[in-house]
Subunit: 251 residues, 2 copies
């Protein structure tokens, strides 16, 4: 009778006549089929995302309907309840974020450094954006109430996804003899800290000053060079001499 995105726990869902939703597939799994949205449904989620950015968690279902020109009944048929709508929106957005990778077995020091800088730049750009802030705010506030699993989802698509993507890059660096890691996990945490710094928490707390695109790149390059200074395999003096590290300009 409906074509919900979520699992079939709450409503009986017969086979759907509509193309995009595919609600019948994998019934019983709690996986939300973020990739199988009709364009109309994606349009609605886009509206939800906009409202999240504008008003945080405060927007009402009625407001979504008004802005998206859809009926509440359709909304509830598609997403079950408000939480389902939020979950679908978060997952839909998460599925759109891509991170630059690094292919190949061995790599030069410059290429490795460039790859890390590209990664850090991308990450900082995402983190300091309004959409990311809105989603993280939503997930964080819901994590406080324990009433939904949004925190888990954002965590999985945020920090954990970052380390997951970064780990193979690190491995390439190790096997190329460019870095030495005592503990990969600790190194990942260090890299995260050096790149993100206090940007994210300040953004989440509402600070409006945003770094420019070039500011982000400079910050990313600085963080990467600091990381390489800490973990680089025997090339630290070279990096220092190259002026990549923030020593005094006079030096």
């Amino acid at each position: 009778m409906n074509q919900q995105i979520k699992s079939a726990e709450l409503h009986d869902n017969a086979a759907s006549g509509q193309a995009g939703a595919g609600a019948g597939a994998d019934a019983g799994t709690s996986v939300i089929l973020a990739g199988e949205l009709s364009s109309r449904q994606a349009e609605v989620l886009g509206v939800v995302l906009d409202l999240m950015v504008e008003e945080g968690d405060g927007f009402s279902m009625a407001k979504v309907c008004r802005r998206a020109s859809c009926s509440k009944e359709t909304l509830y048929n598609w997403f079950g309840d408000r939480d389902g709508l939020l979950t679908a929106t978060v997952q839909w957005q998460a599925s759109k974020v891509k991170m630059p990778g690094l292919a190949g077995g061995l790599v030069t020091a410059d290429a490795f450094r460039d790859s890390l800088i590209a990664f850090a730049t991308n990450w900082l750009t995402v983190i300091t954006g309004d959409v990311s802030a809105a989603l993280n705010r939503l997930a964080i506030s819901h994590a406080g109430t324990g009433k939904s699993r949004l925190g888990e989802i954002v965590l999985k698509n945020g920090p954990l996804a970052m380390t997951g993507r970064l780990r193979p890059i690190f491995e390439i660096g190790v096997s190329s003899g460019l870095i030495e890691l005592d503990s990969t996990d600790a190194a990942l945490k260090t890299f995260f800290g050096l790149v993100v710094g206090d940007w994210q928490i300040r953004k989440l707390l509402g600070e409006t000053t945003r770094p420019s695109a070039t500011g982000i790149e400079i910050n990313a390059a600085r963080a990467v060079d600091q990381f390489l200074a800490l973990y680089g395999a025997g090339q630290i003096p070279a990096l220092f001499a190259a002026g990549n590290i923030n020593t005094k300009p006079s030096t």
Copy 2:
């Protein structure tokens, strides 16, 4: 007629007969007199804090009254409205957090390092606690709606307070010839990143795994040594040789 904590904008407040509140003082300023709370008022704020930890922003005024055994009228007389109650609670809690400092003009390398480690340990302990998480969650969600100034307050008592306390410590390190900073702000950001890493965001997103006390200390020492490796004045090889930096154990 009342003895509000907040500014006198909303309600007429005559001279108060009650000792602790002191609402009449400095009327017109929007400063909230967090230090001038009666014990009963502090008791109520403690209940609010507990509820924040337990339920996030979802708790109701009625629930506060029930748990604190006070009437709603009293609550509203004291704090104006719900937002005033939240603000008073946040400021009251913020006023309780103290950070270790560092006195004296010149200092040895060991004492400086110990001081930084103590600072980082303290900060990490606060950050990973439930109370801090609850307050940050509250402020972050309110920052999204733009309906209160909690984000600003927490920002001021969080990251900004940390850098404010840390800056004089850095200056002592510089004047003692222990560290060299090209940009103090950048160094503060680096220190923040190295210490906090992804602990805070993961905690805020609901991850339950908390580091132990010794784990925090190890993390803090590691972060400080990494910081000193990056900014130490000519002592980097010594630090490396001392095994303070996380090179491979075999090295």
